[in-house]
């Protein structure tokens, strides 16, 4: 028997081990024995090490995924921010336009003349002339030589005169152009002269009587002479004055009340 067992060492050992295992199983109970608990407890550190080791790449991967997610979110949020900024700018532009148009409408109602509101759709491309193109033309009963005014930030002012009319648009010669001359007067003294453009941001008031009392800040308005511009439309304020070379007249430099660089909407005076 012993010889057999020694010859078949593996088989004998197998039977013994299987019998041991079967014996252990036969003593099965849901309650763990103290030895089982201790073996389990001994193994806990190994489990812990392995668990940490396995969690590490998972954590790294998780963080990388989080980083990718954050990157995507960042791109998305930047896109949304750009969109919101765009919308905000659009909203501000619309608000500003709304305010401007309301002011213009109020001004239009206050004016004792018949007017047509128009939007500027183009500017003179050269440096030699100061003209604008408006979106109203013959169809809107716009005619040549009509006066153009505007209302800008609580201030009304003369813009210029229609010089050319097409079907749907018209060209307006601005007050700043040297080809435009407007009969004008000093509000305080009623002294009359002629305002001319000088192709700069300012214009010149000429042919005032040499004894005219003129001070800086004096308001200049249209005199109504010539029949093109109605009387009393504000033109600008005096910034400086001097006598002409021959000392026959007094002349002054005016600051127009309108900022022509920010001109967007105008009123064409149809008749007065």
């Amino acid at each position: 028997m012993i010889k057999f067992c020694l010859r078949h060492k593996a088989g004998t050992l197998l039977v013994l081990l299987l019998l041991t295992a079967t014996f252990l199983m036969s003593r099965h109970s849901l309650q763990r024995t103290e030895i089982e608990k201790r073996i389990g407890a001994i193994f806990v550190p190994f489990q812990s090490i392995m668990s940490s080791a396995l969690r590490f790449p998972g954590d790294v991967w998780g963080r990388l995924s989080e980083l990718n997610r954050l990157k995507e979110e960042n791109i998305r949020l930047k896109g949304e921010l750009r969109q919101l900024i765009k919308e905000k700018e659009q909203w501000q532009r619309m608000e500003s336009e709304n305010k401007r148009l309301r002011n213009l409408l109020g001004y239009k109602k206050r004016l004792p003349y018949s007017t047509t509101a128009a939007r500027i759709i183009g500017y003179d491309p050269t440096n030699w002339f100061s003209t604008i193109i408006i979106d109203r033309g013959r169809q809107d009963r716009i005619k040549e030589a009509l006066a153009v005014v505007t209302y800008q930030e609580g201030q009304e002012g003369l813009v210029g005169r229609v010089i050319s009319v097409r079907e749907n648009s018209a060209q307006v010669l601005l007050l700043l152009d040297q080809n435009l001359a407007v009969g004008a007067k000093v509000v305080r003294t009623q002294a009359k002269g002629l305002v001319e453009g000088i192709n700069k941001r300012t214009c010149r008031l000429r042919y005032l009587p040499p004894d005219t009392d003129l001070t800086e800040g004096d308001m200049i308005v249209t005199s109504g002479e010539g029949g093109i511009f109605p009387e009393g439309i504000p033109i600008g304020k005096v910034i400086s004055s001097k006598r002409e070379a021959q000392r026959l007249f007094l002349e002054a430099e005016l600051q127009p009340l309108i900022d022509f660089n920010r001109l967007e909407d105008v009123l064409v005076i149809n008749y007065f």
């Binding site: 295992a21 252990l24 849901l30 193994f43 396995l54």
Partner: protein, 158 residues
């Protein structure tokens, strides 16, 4: 590999099984790293070492698993014995994988049979073969490929 390295390998495999097994489950089927390690051990060291190693590691597994002490001891002991039965099985990786496939199936049947025997509430149903035993065996074979290539690489270095 020395004995100490093999013992550490088996213990760490059990730790891996306990820590990573649930995460690697595919449709509820977990791979049996311990079985693969026992087979690898037995293929190298023979059936005596295989059955003793399988028995001991199986008992430790029982201490961490459902309290039917001896269940995994029994099945892993048998697996170690069978894997170490023929030394020529160790000659090619294809044979090794075939051994894993067969032993996985035997191991599963052993566990199912012993559970039915010792746990009255457990019953064997033929659908277990398709739903559990075969998929687990195939999963073990696929992971066994990596295992054996890793061991081969380690041995080449030494």
């Amino acid at each position: 590999m020395s004995w100490l390295i093999w013992i550490t390998f088996l213990v760490m495999t059990l730790a891996l099984q306990s820590a990573a097994g649930p995460h690697l489950a595919i449709k509820g089927i977990k791979p049996d790293f311990v079985l693969i390690a026992v087979v690898a051990f037995a293929l190298r060291k023979g059936s005596v070492a295989g059955e003793v190693g399988g028995f001991l590691i199986g008992l430790i597994e029982d201490c961490l698993s459902f309290p039917l002490l001896g269940l995994n001891g029994f099945s892993k002991c048998l697996a170690g014995f069978l894997a170490g039965w023929r030394q020529d099985w160790n000659e090619s990786i294809i044979l090794q994988l075939m051994v894993i496939l067969m032993i996985s199936i035997v191991n599963s049947f052993t566990i199912v049979g012993l559970s039915s025997l010792f746990l009255p509430q457990t019953s064997f149903h033929p659908s277990v073969i398709n739903q559990f035993i075969i998929p687990e065996a195939l999963y073990n074979v696929s992971l066994g490929t990596c295992f054996f290539l890793f061991i081969k690489l380690m041995l080449k270095r030494r």
